[in-house]
Symmetry: C2
Subunit: 352 residues, 2 copies
């Protein structure tokens, strides 16, 4: 597979199947439309999968990790070694994503896309290190164009492998100290909002840190001069290896008609790149939740996506995405398992 | 048990336990506060249960049904016999509440609090008929004060029985053609909003039906002259048997330190009555979602409750409540199952 093949392979939503699903929703024992987003999401799942009775039992969340050279600028509240430490936490099952994935019955696939340190061999860890952390985006491109392509294709291949093993829905999660800075730079370069509206507090920088982070993003854009029409240019100059891998997961899922749930600020930055590379991919992406990270709402508006949840979360890791996967699963079960008015022998609306 | 004992038995939240839970949240491997409502809800669950490590594995949703004499006024889009037909659907497992309860692992307890028709004997149906439907609230009180008390105590006893069998969280659901009219009348009588803002389309009346529904609520208030300071007066004059039963479920749960999740417009009307009778009960109620039914948001504001979900739903049955129970369960698992920074050997925030 090469990148062009991947990008050319994104299909359209199946409108015929959507109409079939809509028709069934209208026959189920409830006032039509009364289940709100559960109804619209089930119809979207039908259109994505091409199946009027979509099932989302097998759920996989990819938690991709990478380090960021820009941490040298002091833009995070946490030291860079936390990326590696948190990956260990994922492998030991003690992180929020592990707890929430267990709760909804999703499998967590942890991928080292480019952590600086060496991680121990572990049955739950996939090592696809593109490099040991990105370069500092204040000084030049984060990675080469070839590395960006390699990371995207790696993500797509991992998505294909999961789908081949039965995954019916994919979610995106990430870990990478410094990656809200990278994501804010991508967002600003695309013109989604002014720099000051793109840069937020991430894991919790103070006012001084926030000012520094804004200056860093300004400098990254000035030094790199990314082309907003060229997704690969944006990604290689401003991105991270985990972000690039997630672009691949999104495109891989979309190209196989498998819904992909994005999480918060960073995974939505990956969606911005995916949609810049292949606009039709947008229709296969579900926004899990509205993150508290400043700028996320504007990203979702740019993508034209309505979030499923709004729980005031801003952790990342895929934590919001797995909760939304459970709602999507519920939506499909409504479509598949509810009785129709005829089956249940119930009088329909007067005059209907 | 009599009503006064029940009302006097509502405890306070346990602030000491809330502080213990907050302290643990702050030690977990995530930026403090980054899980938003999952954190605040877990702390609330600790305060409600008095347990710093609350568990919500065993979930029960009470779906209470009753008929309404006011349907004679033509205020519903569906004929009155649908109440009985939908109860049959609940027993056969084909309704939305069955599908969603299975999805989240909740048990559905269907209770006939006052359906007009005879229902078949069924292992999943509890028959507690107070009467065969209420009287038409346009012409006088819906029920006697004694019936209202009997229905409340019945609901509380059912809550106690479920708790004795291990239920750790209760949810409220309902079925009763005409019960949005009854709920709107309760809301208006309490002065939560002007009548025109209290009355919505329910299962889907047209503009003419909506006007008729408003006139009916005006007439019910004029004829009955309910006392907004007397919860029992409000309930007996304007309520329904299923609403009265749910008042009992709420008070029963609260009195046993078990969280009670309310659903949409009708179950929130039950909460209005419960809180009028026993103001402290409010602290034990969780608002599942923001219903699309006009007026629901104003009810939540009056109660001072923030909904967990906002999925554009307006079905009732407890459909939103069971989805929210799953989020509450997830919140408690975060508190109980995540590793602390010390346990995981992770560097905390710089300067912390």
């Amino acid at each position: 597979m090469n990148l062009e093949e991947l990008l050319m392979n994104i299909p359209f939503l199946d409108d015929e199947v959507r109409r079939t699903a809509q028709k069934r929703q209208d026959q189920l024992t409830k006032p039509s439309g009364s289940l709100g987003k559960l109804e619209t999401l089930s119809i979207l799942m039908a259109g994505i999968t091409g199946n009027p009775a979509p099932h989302l039992d097998r759920k996989v969340v990819f938690v991709m990790a990478g380090d960021h050279g820009v941490t040298a600028e002091g833009i995070s509240a946490y030291p860079a070694e936390v990326t590696t430490q948190m990956v260990m936490n994922f492998l030991q099952g003690g992180a929020a994503i592990n707890v929430l994935a267990r709760h909804v019955g999703a499998e967590v696939v942890v991928v080292d896309m480019g952590v600086v340190g060496d991680l121990p061999i572990h049955s739950n860890l996939i090592v696809k290190k593109i490099d040991r952390g990105t370069n500092n985006i204040c000084l030049g491109p984060a990675m080469t164009r070839a590395q960006a392509i390699q990371a995207i294709l790696t993500g797509a291949e991992l998505a294909y492998a999961a789908i081949a093993e039965g995954a019916q829905i994919l979610a995106t999660g990430e870990m990478g100290i410094g990656n809200t800075t990278s994501s804010a730079a991508i967002m600003a370069a695309l013109g989604v909002a002014a720099i000051e509206d793109c840069v937020g507090r991430g894991t919790g920088v103070d006012d001084e840190g926030l000012k520094r982070k804004r200056r860093v993003v300004e400098q990254a854009l000035r030094i790199n001069q990314p082309d907003p029409l060229d997704g690969l240019d944006l990604l290689s100059k401003l991105g991270g290896f985990e972000i690039a891998g997630l672009v691949g997961v999104i495109l891989g899922g979309a190209s196989r008609r498998v819904p992909v749930v994005i999480d918060g600020f960073i995974t939505t930055a990956a969606a911005l790149i995916a949609v810049t590379l292949a606009p039709r991919a947008r229709d296969f992406i579900i926004a899990a939740h509205r993150s508290q990270e400043q700028g996320h709402q504007k990203m979702l508006e740019w993508l034209g996506l309505q979030p499923v949840l709004d729980l005031g979360m801003r952790l990342g890791e895929g934590s919001g995405a797995v909760l939304a996967m459970s709602i999507l699963d519920a939506a499909c079960k409504i479509l598949n398992e509810m009785a129709t008015f005829t089956e249940a022998g119930i009088s329909n609306k007067s005059g209907d």
